[in-house]
Amino acid sequence: MSTPWYRRLSDGLSRSREHLGGQLNVLLRKGPDLDAAFWEELEDTLIAGDMGATAVTEVVERLRDAAARKALPDAHAVLDHLAGELAAEFPTDSDFLKHPPVTVLVVGVNGTGKTTTVGKLAKEAADAGHVVLLGSGDTFRAAAGEQLDIWADRAGVPMVKRDRGADPAAVVFDTIAEAKRGGAAVTLIDTAGRLHTSADLMRELEKVQRVAERESEAPVKVLLVMDATTGQNGLAQAREFDSALGVDGIALTKLDGTAKGGIAVAIARELRLPILRIGVGEGIEDLKPFDPLDFTRALIGEV
């Protein structure tokens, strides 16, 4: 038996905390004074967490104003206030992954962990007692189908795939036909990673979505998988996928590393997209619901 998930989650987050907290604690050890050094280090910390320099400058400027008006007496108050304020940026839409029947297209740029996320979601839905079907729509990357096969086995759910190079829309067609036949409540469709700048590949995805919406009796939702180590480019990713397909939710992966995923704040702020899951490890159980306040606390290094 490996470490229980909550341990791993808090381990992962505390690693983030240690790292960020390290910097902030130095600050707090000097006392709760709001001096120039505090503000500069707070700014550096948030920038280092990938929140984006423009947003950070704006946020810190506002906090300084509030502090000058004595609205925020000390560093503890500033950090508390900040955590709450950032957490409030995240929309709390209902979680479509928990409301079958549903057909989910899992999309994103290369290497964010789409296939792994599909595997983990399959396990989650199967454990919740739903009939699950996977579709391997990544017909481009070598062995993507085999990779999903293994996850399907681990989750104990069936999967539809075609040969490499096949039209992904055809895989979607087959998958949904099979879902209807087998009465699947949760249909999860993996797609090939693509850079959001690649116009033709984005059009391919639009076609996949069209086919899914035409064929599926269940509502079709789009889950964007994003890598927490992504920098400011992440906003462009989310924007492009959203404008092409209309993204319904985000899964933020690789949060068990040292990256803070601060770009998620910018995305929440601009696009109002909810984060539905976070990936905190390589195991099949390591996909967790997202808690905004936990997340922003980790981001600013508070315990």
Binding site: R15, H19, D44, I47, A48, G49, D50, G52, A53, T54, T57, V109, N110, G111, T112, G113, F140, R141, A142, A143, A144, G145, E146, Q147, D149, I150, W151, R164, L195, H196, T197, S198, A199, D200, D227, T229, T230, G231, Q232, N233, G234, A236, Q237, K254, D256, G257, T258, A259, K260, G262, I263, E282
Partner: protein
């Protein structure tokens, strides 16, 4: 690539260069802007601090204040320092005399190691090497199958071992290379988060087992501030020799590229710039710095042309242009060459001042080229040589054959006729009329 940063810096500079004198306040304002531009491009915040301090110090120095074009001098300083940041002169992959040479690829999950291994193998084979790829990622489901599939596509052998001992598989792979007369071994390893000690230990064990001649760290160009932490951790534990940047074909801001070298002292050796297996290029810091500052990469453009365009073809084409015997078939050949060189967008990006075009480098629909090719493919040889025979019913047939409208066929023919006319002019008056040059067909929609 780097378009965003490039555009912002050029905007800052166009403010500076307009001025005859620069006060310290002007420089400070520019430095604040540069700082923000670099941070928004994901350059590590510590690197940014250092960079801005160095540039500022040089920019308020005597030379700039005395210069007649102080703005230009500041741009020069930024170019200098940017080149330094990217690693100064270029670093090449250095292979030794040992046979086989062993190259180890390490990196985070999802950075693109397996694909990079295949691209690198392909690159080395083009240089006359006989590579063998060794699949040591025994953790990610189907990672080995992925490498095998890529190997099959390239016709490059892949060694896969049995069991769960990655270091053992790597050693066996090297032995396999010796017995099958392969002179370079590329070892693909499991991805890891650098905090994962276990995986890091495994990388060290593989390193000890095969004593690689080169260790390359594969870094995703889209990585944010965390890039330097990871690179630093890898530098401490496995001590790599150089970096292979992936996904530089998107709109990555280039922060990782600009930071990694500075923090680890390791050069960027290769850049991966596309999905195809031949989309791997050596990395030249000086050229990249110029591209970021909108000064273009003309040397790179010429090299690209030289690598892709066959000299005989070029000569034959020149001859045809001279005699105005240019046909639609010749045009098709040209289209293919543009595609081979990476498409219109990538070529435009290498031209000086491209970033200053309205709205950056124009979004070119590369499929427009395919459509033009399809139209020409639907013509008979006679029609291609003598487009004037194409009448109404032929137009309809061509349009049907290529799945476009008659209007599009007409457009192509019209533009082609103009190009031909222009060539005749060119012959007559030796190029005086060249100023009126129109873009060749297919580029009609670009302007």
């Amino acid at each position: 690539m780097f378009d965003n940063l490039s555009k912002r810096l050029q905007d800052i500079f166009s403010n500076l260069t307009g001025k005859g004198r620069l006060s310290e306040a002007d420089v400070d304002a520019a430095m604040r802007e540069i700082r923000l531009a670099l941070l928004e491009a994901d350059v590590n915040f510590k690197v940014v601090k250092e960079f801005v301090a160095v540039v500022r110090e040089r920019a308020v120095g005597e030379d700039v204040m005395r210069s007649l074009t102080p703005g230009q001098t500041v741009v020069g300083i930024v170019l200098d320092e940017l080149t330094n940041l990217l690693g100064g002169t270029s670093a090449r992959l250095t292979l030794t005399n040992r046979i086989p040479n062993v190259i180890l690829l390490v990196g985070l999950q999802g950075s693109g190691k397996t694909t990079a291994a295949a691209k690198l193998a392909n690159h080395l084979r083009k240089q006359g090497k006989r590579p063998l790829m060794v699949a040591c990622d025994i953790y990610r489901p189907a990672a080995i199958e992925q490498l095998e599939t890529l190997g099959r596509e390239l016709g490059i052998p892949v060694f896969r071992g049995e069991g769960a001992d990655a270091a053992g598989i790597a050693s066996a792979g090297v032995k396999e290379a010796v017995s099958t007369m392969r002179d370079v071994v590329l070892v693909d390893t499991a991805g890891r988060l650098h905090i994962d000690e276990e995986m890091m230990d495994e990388a060290v064990r593989i390193k000890t087992a095969v004593s690689p001649d080169q260790i390359l760290m594969v870094v995703d160009a889209m990585t944010g501030q965390d890039a330097v932490n990871t690179a630093d951790a890898f530098a401490q534990r496995v001590d790599f020799d150089g970096v292979l940047m992936t996904k530089l074909d998107g709109d990555a801001r280039g922060g990782a590229a600009l930071s990694v070298r500075n923090v680890t002292g390791k050069p960027i050796v290769f850049a991966s710039v596309g999905e195809k297996l031949d989309a791997l290029e050596p990395f030249y810091p000086d050229r990249m710095a110029k591209r970021i500052l909108g000064m273009g990469d003309v040397v790179g453009l010429i090299e690209k042309a030289r690598d892709t365009i066959d000299a005989d073809d070029a000569e034959a084409l020149e001859q045809k242009l001279r005699t105005a015997a240019f046909t639609l078939d010749d045009f098709l050949v040209q289209l293919r060459q543009i595609k081979k060189m990476g498409g219109v967008t990538s070529l435009l990006g290498m031209l000086p001042g491209a970033g200053k075009l309205k709205g950056g480098v124009p979004e070119v629909d590369e499929r427009q080229l395919d459509r033009v090719a399809a139209i020409i493919h639907s013509m008979t040889p006679q029609e291609r040589a003598k487009p004037q025979v194409i009448n109404g019913s032929r137009r309809q047939r061509i349009a049907n054959g290529s799945g476009v409208t008659v209007t599009e066929v007409n457009q192509l023919l019209k533009q082609f006729a103009e190009v031909r006319k222009l060539m005749k002019q060119f012959q007559k008056d030796g190029g005086k009329r060249l100023r009126g040059l129109k873009l060749p067909p297919g580029f009609g929609q670009l302007g």
